[in-house]
Symmetry: C2
Subunit: 366 residues, 2 copies
């Protein structure tokens, strides 16, 4: 044993650049492995390629960030850390709306308008359905086909996940990568039905709610909380026979918006109409956003909101990780169900029970 250890040590010393392999290892196999490793870019190469605008490297890095394999965590963190000084320089737009309002066609029309203006657009889509079907209902390839072909656009279905926290982290870090890769406008699309909107609202500069004409019934499909977050409501499909109804819906939405308290940004939410078919009003949407960005950059709200968002995610992640560690603790899991029952049946004060559980949890740590 001692001899073997010694011989390995000697081998290492004598051939510091060579792998410690048994003698009967074929040199052909070794060469093959080395070649495969060479083809796979290392972390530094990946970073350099992202910073030079290489879409392939960007996609590869996003995959690493989305990976739940712990072996990828260190590399993903290193890439993010290296990209951060080159990020933070895009306009981040959140776009939401219930199914059927035409989000994909709107983003395609809007995105193409922006690339014509010389902008580089990244579109990240968060689709809750994809976590069930492992793919969007319509299939990722058939959505925004035109925009995806545009050399100045990058369309990527964002990670789905079991937790809002997980989706948030992956999406937020993907924004950083896209910015470092040279995209000056990042659009995050969500389906306006769940928790994801709140998370996305906390990572974008401008939050846009897409809607269609309709009666009060349809208006109720949008959660009040989502409407309250909107910096603009855009009534889509304002074309043909629909134009008049769209103008009415715009007025109705405008009234509804006035019921919400004033925004810290000083911005008064805007209602617009547009058609993704005739492209009428698409430019006005961009002008509204530009106007917002200019104003909030002038009154320093833009920068302070981003700093606040970063702190929000720091604190949010700390809380989530503390809770996760607690609720994943095997002793806690055994005790928690019993404790819940005892507390529900008034056998134990919930406060005293909580204190006891937390004490037992900390005892498992020492």
């Amino acid at each position: 044993m001692l001899i073997f250890t010694k011989s390995l040590f000697t081998l290492k010393k004598e051939n510091p650049n060579k792998e410690n392999l048994p003698d009967n290892f074929s040199p052909a196999v070794l060469k093959k492995i080395q070649q495969a490793r060479k083809n796979q870019p290392n972390t530094e190469e990946l970073i350099t390629n992202i910073l030079s605008g290489d879409i392939g490297a960007l996609s590869r890095a996003i995959t690493l960030i989305e990976s739940n394999n712990p072996n990828h965590f260190t590399e993903a963190n290193a890439i993010i850390k290296a990209c951060l000084p080159h990020a933070n320089n895009s306009v981040r737009i959140g776009i939401t709306g219930v199914p059927g309002v035409g989000k994909s066609t709107f983003i395609e029309a809007f995105g193409k308008h922006l690339t014509k203006l010389g902008k580089k657009i990244a579109v990240l889509t968060i689709d809750p359905s994809s976590s069930l079907s492992h793919g969007s209902i319509l299939g990722d390839k058939t959505r925004m086909e035109e925009l995806a072909k545009d050399p100045n656009a990058y369309v990527r279905p964002s990670a789905s996940g079991d937790t809002v926290g997980g989706v948030a982290r992956k999406t937020r870090e993907t924004i950083t990568l896209c910015e470092a890769c040279g995209f000056d406008t990042v659009i995050i699309e969500t389906v306006g039905v769940g928790q994801n909107e709140i998370a996305v609202h906390s990572m974008v500069d401008f939050f846009l709610l897409l809607n269609v004409t309709g009666t009060g019934d349809e208006l109720q499909g949008i959660k009040k909380g989502i409407m309250e977050m909107a910096d603009a409501i855009v009534i889509n499909k304002a074309d043909g026979d629909n134009i008049q109804k769209a103008v009415l819906a715009k007025a109705e939405m405008n009234n509804a918006l006035h019921l919400f308290p004033a925004k810290k940004s000083g911005w008064i939410p805007v209602t617009l109409t547009c058609s993704s078919k005739t492209l009428e009003g698409i430019n006005e949407v961009w002008e509204t956003i530009s106007n917002y960005i200019e104003r909030t950059q002038n009154n320093t709200f833009f920068e302070s909101k981003r700093a606040e968002q970063n702190e929000f995610w720091l604190m949010e992640t700390i809380e989530n990780q503390l809770k996760q560690d607690f609720f994943n603790n095997s002793e806690v899991q055994i005790l928690l169900e019993k404790t819940k029952k005892a507390v529900q049946n008034n056998e134990y004060s919930p406060f005293a029970a909580a204190q006891l559980l937390v004490e037992k949890y900390f005892n498992t740590k020492t």
Copy 2:
């Protein structure tokens, strides 16, 4: 030194029931101390007295629960645990309203009405001003003087505290003690301006918002969230020239209530008018609450809401204790400020930074 230790040990062994005192300790002083200890009821006596309806014992136990002295925690927990099987049998009513709506005079009129009906009323008041002035603005003694004199009523200004969590625990456990002491109706009064209302809403069966006549301006003084929690809105001071305005305000409030989503209880919030001076409408308030209790007890909402509330406080307290331990950790405190700055300045991903902080925190535990 060794001899002294040995002699003390010998003393203990020889006189197991006597205190270990120096020889020159006066027997008269010893007797005095023992007498004072005897007069102070021990935990078992305190519990027995609470369960037999002794107000003095109740007050003493509440003081123990409110104490921030760690030496009192074990005793307080033991009392609560012993009282729990005898608690849970009152109607718990939360009453809130902005300053000036006449909460104290209303509760006095309402409470006296209830004691006349043969009920035993406990009134706990949570006044945020008392944590600043160490006493209510009006002084605790001058408020609800009449009700406090009633042998079937118990008025107690509840604990103030630095944290909502702390106030919640003390108030919630005081309810348990009052119930064990035989009070069948517990009223918790808060000033409708802050976070305490949400906490109180999570420990009562019925939540009543007290208001006065007024224009839209005054209506805006009430936070929408508080109005949304209300099971009834009572327009107070509906007397003299004010009656007509009160009727109008009632209609206005009723309209506002309809904008909120339906309640899980199936209960449709009620608007009432009353006068704490003429006592007009006071009985209707009680009838409304009785009606609510009867209905929700019949549809099992009453019991399931209480079980839910208990679970809510269990989970809430766990989260608070986990966060408290983290943020009070001296290593975390040193690192957190630096980390916040780094994250705000985009030097570090908030997610990676949070992970690192939590890891370092757990390392301090082992």
